[in-house]
Subunit: 458 residues, 2 copies
């Protein structure tokens, strides 16, 4: 395990950026505030108060999951996860990073006979209807993921799927149960009750693990295992990163450095927009997963940074103009994949055409990495803060490291921003209004508010 | 054509939001500055100085494109667009909006025998290599899109594809040309020269149409036509919107209202983050297309808003916490699709379970729209500016309206921000540094800048 992810933050510092960077003095101050934050987090960990810290060591559930995934799980052609937010984003990130691209288009043989994997993370009928219409329900497993069992989107999907399964198995009214797997609270909630009443198999979500910190629980592990991802390596990577983050010396704690730099950029240098720019197609949804973690954990009490996901080299032709010459209000965290194991050579066609010949003899990977380094350098030359997280190998271990680093950084950032990173009070109002529109008993139909036709352009 | 897209901006106004909204006085000021901006834009239009205004009327090229698409274009199973930025984003938005979901997974019959469509908008070898390996080169058309013919990413892809095509047709050294189509400048540039030398078919990009304003040129029209999208309806929609935007009364000009409100929110109310929140899976990549347009056109001279793309209901479980309770620094533009033509009923399973029974009897579309309205209202109740663009029908006409509205709004916004919306000087430095890393003649290898191992966490 010699290789592990590294963080280079030279281009965040005033030695490179002048007064647009973070000075040694600021970093020194954070050394102090970080120690305090670290102490509180470690105390909470000792008390067992932060659920996700316990996940890398929870190996009993791994055996259960592998038993299911390698046994009955392989009887299915297709696995569909019904889940939204934290029940979907980790699985999507793992799928994109670790499965072959365009996985669901591949033949059984190309997929090494692992099932197709869909994640229904929305309730758009124009997407869900056509997909369900073409699935063979007799070869499909539906993994319903919701801790409470009350998530409206997931439950609506579940009702539709249950009815279709029962219809498909009209001759055998019990068979539909074998096509369902509930991932939910171990003791309570609607899904737990239904599972008990109908003998539907389940996996537990630890009660002290919230949705956006749940990727390393059975929420993320079951779908991963069923498509052949090495979930033990994933947890080993998370454990290795967790070990690195036991240090209270900020300079040696990757999550600590990340949290302190982002907080300093926001509160000291007025850069509240935190872009995560993946220079790999395979890590773009990792940036999307981070986007939930950072926004929902820290965006409260009229403060909190705004995370943005971006993709290199693609967004050099879309966003980099703004990043380089727009307002000084951003940090750019570059995700770099330096794994060159599956590169594509650029052939020397047109050796006599100047505008093309410089490309031949190189590889696509070299081009992507040259563009990444050029972007980092161009940003720095224009006084724009950026740092690079380098991922040496695209594998489950690295993904575990990344997930854990960013989760721990979020908890530290909660301390620095002085907010509770584990709640999300702001989403309640929208839920109540939705219930009201749907006439759920106990909820008022919403007043539609003041409208003025002056303010509608038709 | 009774139905057309509308813009409701009630929730931007101080009558709803108090001092967190835009007052009638501010709107009145913008009435004046908008008239001036409109006058300048119309004058430039009269002089033919803004290329994209001419595209909806350019029907000759439509005949040419349809001739190709309906003729030789249908000989292919698969079309691959090699393009990045403005050469890719419009096509991706059209594909997602107007083709059946998961298009490339569908059988020939399910696709009504139209080809599969891939857009290679990056140079990641881990994506491109496996895709090219499994394509049947003898049934694939490669549409190379670059005005200059010097875009490094696109040209690298082209060199790889050319070599593979030549290899596939080893017995017939000329056959590879029939699998290429160049969309490029009509007179000059590298691709134009190669096309002439090798008799490769081409389509023109008008010289005065820049990449991010090119979706309604052959850049977007050819791939759209080849997969069966009604490109005349697309242009008709654009023309209809253009007509609406001839009005210099801001209240009747959808693009004018949009530009003025966004500029006012940024410059008067300090809300520089402009989220486009699509409440439809099918319009999410429209938000991505807009993200390039808004960022690259306005992000310069140390100013410019930061566009962000988001997806509802999904991001209610990721970003809405931040939007509702985070800092007051955003506007949210909701894209609403009110087309209910392909809805999915939620069956009345579990009529006795309170937490589920309120869903049964409704539809997924109703749920999605209730959540959209609830989010708009919750944002407004918390004093967060938002507006809704309502799209009555998901079809090519509406897409044309949307593209044109947002393009015209961008030109108006350029006037209000006092920047040139058609240039992108900030991306040059990164290009030069990339060339340097690649040893292109005439470019220096970059100095790697000041590094300090203190700033690397290993």
């Amino acid at each position: 395990m010699g290789e592990r992810i590294t963080l280079d933050y030279s281009n965040m510092m005033s030695a490179v950026l002048g007064d647009r960077g973070i000075s040694d003095e600021i970093l020194e101050q954070y050394q102090q505030s970080f120690r305090a934050a670290h102490r509180k987090v470690e105390a909470a960990r000792q008390q067992g108060a932060i659920g996700f810290f316990k996940l890398p060591a929870a190996r009993e559930i791994v055996r259960e999951i592998r038993g299911f995934a390698e046994g009955i799980g392989q009887a299915f052609d297709t696995v569909v996860v019904l889940g939204i937010g934290g029940s979907a984003l980790g699985t999507l990130a793992l799928q994109q990073a670790l499965l072959k691209p365009h996985w669901n288009e591949l033949s059984d043989e190309q997929r090494d006979y692992f099932p197709r994997l869909y994640v229904l993370d929305n309730v758009d009928p124009t997407t869900i209807g056509p997909l369900l219409d073409r699935l063979d329900m007799r070869r499909t497993l539906f993994n319903v993921v919701s801790k409470s069992g009350t998530t409206a989107e997931t439950m609506a999907q579940f009702l539709i799927v249950r009815e279709r399964l029962r219809r498909a198995f009209g001759d055998d009214p019990d068979a539909y149960r074998r096509h369902l797997l509930f991932t939910t609270d171990p003791d309570k909630g609607v899904l737990r009750e239904l599972a008990q009443a109908e003998s539907i198999p389940t996996l537990p979500i630890p009660p002290d693990v919230g949705g956006r910190f749940s990727v390393l629980s059975s929420v993320g592990l079951l779908p991963a295992a069923i498509v052949g991802i090495d979930i033990e390596a994933l947890l080993n990577g998370a454990a290795a990163m967790d070990e690195r983050c036991r240090s209270d010396d900020v300079a040696n704690n990757p999550a600590g450095v990340f949290a302190c730099l982002q907080h300093a950029a926001d509160s000291q240098l007025h850069a509240p927009i935190h872009v995560m720019l993946s220079y790999s197609d395979r890590l773009y949804l990792m940036a999307d997963w981070f986007r939930q973690l950072w926004a929902e954990s820290l965006g409260k009490q009229n403060r909190g940074p705004t995370p943005v996901k971006a993709l290199g080299a693609t967004d050099q032709h879309s966003q980099v103009q703004l990043y380089i010459e727009g307002p000084f209000d951003k940090t750019i965290t570059i995700l770099a994949l330096t794994d060159g194991s599956s590169d594509v050579p650029i052939p020397k066609e047109y050796p006599d055409v100047d505008a093309l010949s410089y490309l031949g003899g190189h590889t696509l990977g070299e081009l992507l990495n040259a563009e990444r380094r050029a972007t980092a350098q161009a940003l720095a030359q224009r006084g724009r803060m950026n740092m690079t997280i380098e991922v040496p190998t695209l594998d489950a271990h690295s993904m575990g490291e990344l997930f854990m680093m960013l989760q721990i950084a979020t908890v530290y950032a909660g301390e620095l921003y002085e907010v509770n990173p584990f709640d999300q009070p702001g989403v309640e109002l929208g839920k109540e209004l939705t219930y009201g529109y749907f006439g759920r008993p106990g909820y008022e139909p919403p007043e539609t508010g003041r409208r003025d036709s002056r303010w509608v352009v038709r």
